[in-house]
Symmetry: C2
Subunit: 152 residues, 2 copies
DNA sequence: TTAAATTAAATTGCATACAATCTAATTATT
DNA sequence: AATAATTAGATTGTATGCAATTTAATTTAA
């Protein structure tokens, strides 16, 4: 006795291994890296890929709507969309109703790319190295968190 | 009958909402954003913070070891460590044993910063907006994934 | 031993991210 | 209507990330 165990607050709370943010950050990066070889084949980066995924849903979208969906702002999206336009995958046009709004739609070539992209989820499944059950649990928790974190 | 339900592979697999990678990517970014106001107070970015967390553990580390711990390469670490050195938080020195190796250690000022940083985990706890139970589950799965994903 | 192979950092180039600011268009106010 | 406030994108500046290359030091092999 006499020894007072150092509180977790004082000594352990700053250890990397005790952070939840770190594995989140690290796994996220590593997963993106796993996508790279497959995305290289169709000439997209990861961010361009998730942008295309929303565009492939078919509805014409404004930059704003795209940003709300992907949690990205115009500082990221504008240059990225310009690149996708240069590749001939999307069309950017000012809305007639409101000239401030830029609407994004897939070109024929952009829609065509979807066919090639279809193989990617299959190829990448299992990239997390955990059981299907864990993947489902993980997705459920992350979706919940994403919802709550962006509301507050 | 006669209707064949379109297979998930063909039509649904490319929907953003069906990806596990996306909420992972999005939550990770949002969490880093949550840290920002607190990290601003002590003048660190998120990446600088996790680097300092490893350095605060006390052991002198090479750039390589730091990179293995954080899954970052010299292309990211070198300029970041130069910045931390300019702020007076760390010292970079060539190893005597092997001149190729650069060893990193906290300066007195860098160690001092730890005291201020101690409040951050407390302030940030709950930032995911999910229950403690879910946080524990999440961490368990992510740690497992991080281990497996970086082995293969 | 001396050349070849390997290794650790540093450097270069490209693509995000995001805060902050700017500009033009639209809406709300007086 | 004229001005003020707001809004959507674009722009600027800073900080990552990472692949690929380079450089210098060390180790391996011939």
């Amino acid at each position: 006795m006499g020894f007072k165990k150092k509180s977790l607050d004082e000594d352990e709370c700053l250890r990397l291994d005790n952070q939840i943010c770190f594995p989140l950050y690290a796994v996220s990066k590593e997963v993106v890296r796993k996508y790279k070889p497959f995305l290289d084949e169709i000439g997209l980066t990861y961010t361009q890929y998730i942008v295309m995924m929303v565009i492939w849903e078919g509805k014409k979208l404004s930059v704003q709507e795209l940003g709300e969906r992907l949690y990205l702002d115009s500082g990221t999206l504008t240059p990225l969309l310009v690149k996708l336009e240069k590749k001939g995958l999307v069309e950017r046009s000012r809305s007639h109703k409101d000239e401030r709004v830029v609407e994004i739609a897939a070109t024929e070539k952009g829609t065509g790319l979807k066919v090639q992209a279809r193989e990617i989820p299959k190829k990448i499944s299992g990239c997390l190295g955990i059981s299907v059950k864990d993947v489902i649990t993980l997705k459920k928790i992350l979706d919940k968190s994403l919802k709550n974190i962006t509301e507050s």
